[in-house]
């Protein structure tokens, strides 16, 4: 974990209100694990006030580049969209606990919903290195939400798509694809990141099929490093409220409640 000012290296517009930012930090890139995140603070004034968390989308350990895939939803992301190469932002990271990467020579199913795709690219790239076959299922509201899927082509064996409006892939929710995929592909582990109802459904299906499942949670954060105790979720087996920033953002699905 380090606190650094980084210059923007590149910014690409992927779709309406979606961007991929390239930053460079050999030291962060070196230690970053799939599923970890950084926080970004880019304005010196007090509105917005707090840094915002973003998953590490991908790393290039040779160049030290790493990517952030983000959507414009509010104050900070709006400012991020205006960043140009050379602009300086303050980054804290890498933070949190990443995905379990013990799987080797096996089969993993990755399920992303909306911007929940963001951490899955890094995950897929790491899983591929360990000689796994990767099956990807991505859901989005419409085809605008699927403009970044090419990034999964190299690492994944198959990519299944669903949109709520049917503009690309199957019409409906991505979770509707899952029973079939699980039957055909027989994954040894499932990873998912996206809206809570989607992850809840994935958790349910995985439990039915007795497949280990990891979920990556989102929540409002203040400190990002475990001191403010603000970023809680609910545990299924412990009295204390786990902190998404340090105990997560990745949890085993059965460890946490996903009913919002």
């Amino acid at each position: 974990m380090e606190l650094v000012n980084l210059r923007v290296k590149k910014q690409i517009k992927i779709a309406e209100d979606q961007f991929v930012l390239t930053l460079n930090s050999p030291s962060i890139t070196k230690v970053a694990q799939a599923g970890q995140f950084i926080t970004i603070k880019l304005n010196k004034n007090y509105d917005p006030l707090l840094p915002r968390p973003f998953s590490i989308h991908s790393v290039d350990r040779e160049t030290g580049d790493f990517l952030i895939y983000y959507q414009v939803v509010g104050k900070t992301s709006k400012l991020m969209a205006e960043l140009e190469p050379g602009d300086e932002i303050t980054v804290l990271g890498p933070l949190g606990k990443g995905f379990n990467l013990e799987l080797e020579n096996s089969r993993a199913l990755l399920i992303g919903g909306g911007l929940g795709q963001a951490p899955l690219r890094f995950l897929a790239e790491e899983l591929q290195k360990k000689n796994n076959q990767i099956y990807m299922a991505i859901g989005a509201r419409d085809q605008e939400g699927l403009k970044n899927i090419l990034c999964f082509e190299e690492s994944c064996q198959e990519i299944n798509l669903a949109t709520q409006d049917g503009s690309l892939g199957k019409e409906g929710l991505v979770t509707e694809l899952l029973p079939q995929i699980i039957r055909d592909f027989n994954p040894k582990i499932i990873y998912t990141c996206g809206p809570l109802p989607m992850m809840a459904k994935v958790k349910e299906l995985a439990a039915q099929e007795k497949i280990p499942c990891q979920v990556s949670l989102e929540t409002t954060m203040a400190c990002g490093i475990g001191v403010c105790l603000g970023c809680t979720c609910e545990s299924t087996n412990s009295e204390i409220y786990p902190k998404v920033c340090t105990h997560g953002p990745v949890f085993w699905a059965q460890e946490v409640k996903l009913d919002g």
């Binding site: 006030l49 400190c223 009295e239």
Partner: protein, 307 residues
Amino acid sequence: MGKVNLAVDIQGLRLDNPVLTASGTYGFGLEYSQIVEVCKLGAIVTKGLTLEPRKGNPGKRIFETPAGLLNSIGLENPGVESFIKDYLPQVKDLGPKIIANISGNTIEDYIELAERLGNQAGIAALEVNISCPNVKAGGMAFGISPQMAAQVTKAVRKSTTLPVLVKLSPNVTDITEIALAVEEAGADGVSLINTLLGMAIDINSQKPVLGNIVGGFSGPAVKPVALRAVWQVAQKVKIPVIGMGGISTWQDAVEFILAGATAIEVGTANFYNPQAPLEILAGIGNYCQERGVTAITDLIGLAWKER
């Protein structure tokens, strides 16, 4: 230019410099020590400790407002015994003096906490939180009545030889009344302000944003209220005042010192600028040096003192 003497003395609590980190915003100092030279701090005030472990409030706990932060953590902490056993050994080696912030439901709780912590090597002072807006029993109730505030203070005062700071709530009609009551009851200093009482509503769900409905309100937004409180209290009491509330820059800190604070605590600012305490420390030193002030203590209350 000569060196500036930044040391301050709070009735026997001697600090190398007046820049502290505020309770609940710095854990026990261990996390930030990975990215900040915490050894340079004047002191670290611990997360609020209670007798028993507390799991805190359910539901959403933090929410950003314009230039401010709402929190309803609800005093989550491992409890005083776990603190002493599992954390203090490491914490006391960080370098700065450690001030234990304590909270109770009853006066007996405060007494027991004071006794338990009072004979621990590595604890330099107690900060008695009678102003937490996020817990049902005790908490702020003690802080809004001069009588109850005095009772808690007296009880803690008797139970320890450590310097006793009492942390005051701004959610009162006249904060000087409470300050005078705890001074009279034997406090060695007053810390102010704790959080204001605030809330936010989610217009989609049409329910309060925070699980606990109301929360403690902090950050730059509250600075004008905090500074006014310090200004008022410092002119009334003879004991040192520790100022806080939205302090983010050295300029903010100098305002509080000029208003009468002997030391200051940095809270919410740690979240958006972990280097804030050290930048403040450096900035205060420069400010003094540029103005030929040789001791920081010469600045205290200068905005109202006769010159």
